[in-house]
Amino acid sequence: MSDSVKLMDVAIWRGDATGGAYEHFEVPAQESQTILDVVSWIQQNQDANLTYRYACRVGMCGSCAMMVNGTPRWTCRTHVKKVLDGNKLTVAPLRNLPVIKDLATDMDPFFDKWVEAEGVHHPSKTRDDAIELIDPKSSARVEANTGIECINCSICYAACDTVAGNTDYLGPAALQRSWTLYNDARDADKQGILDAVSGTGGCHNCHSQGSCAVHCPNDLNPMKAIAGLKRATAMSFLKNGR
């Protein structure tokens, strides 16, 4: 390697569910380089055993999120120049999720909570019925549209201090999904959604700190969705006692 190539000091967390530590690598800096490029370079050139997860590389699949210098980020769309601290980079597995190995986390708790939050479609029609026409300008549809670009990357879940302190908490992404379905005219079980988010791990545990909205790579606002759920559940409680 030429002496003129600038080398970055990259600390990568290595280990598994039982524990681990940071391992340092020297990685050549390039003009246009993402964090995922850096991690891939290490895996391809220095340690083939390095484990990490990615798929689309263009910010659509939500697979490659990691902690970069202590902040949850989508690594395929994060340029090194934006986050380089002097000459150092620190890359770790996502916070608030169990580690499988190195930079790959077990996403099961995250997706299990989508199901717990009734983040599934409850059909109102059969295949024999006519397709329901949706008014794109209706206030409910406009509200639902604010959350549909979620790519399930779990960055908001990793950023959330309430998740860190309360393992039962459903988390911002799952609750935002519930709010989207609650506002969807095609969903037939709105009370079921409110019941699902009103339990001991539900939306009422959110402290509105807003880390989810700050770190969401798609500029979504799960905190606002959770506030909507709090309003809807409070109205339901006053009207129906639940």
């Binding site: 009422h204 545990n205 409680f237």
Partner: protein, 110 residues
Amino acid sequence: MLDIRLYMLQRLSALFMGPFVLIHIAVMIYAIQGGLSTGEILGRTQGSVTWFLFYAMFVIAVSVHSAIGLRVIVHEFLGLKGFALSTLTWTICVVLLFMGGRAVTAVTML
């Protein structure tokens, strides 16, 4: 840890506490303007059903609100959960009710 029932209890108790706090502070400021002594204040509050009801409701709201708030903090910072957490919540509520109740009866009962 915080379901809809506890959430509503905490919000509704806060709804009551807000005006109670303002009235309490406003009356205190008003009452001491002329240099009232403790004895003169007690002379006005003891035997007053209005002040008994006011401070009794105040104490109930504070006890409920504080117990639920501390429940959240204890769970998130110390990891206490389940039966132990519920026991602590109820204990805080009962202790505050008892202490507040003593103060209210001392100030408003003849």
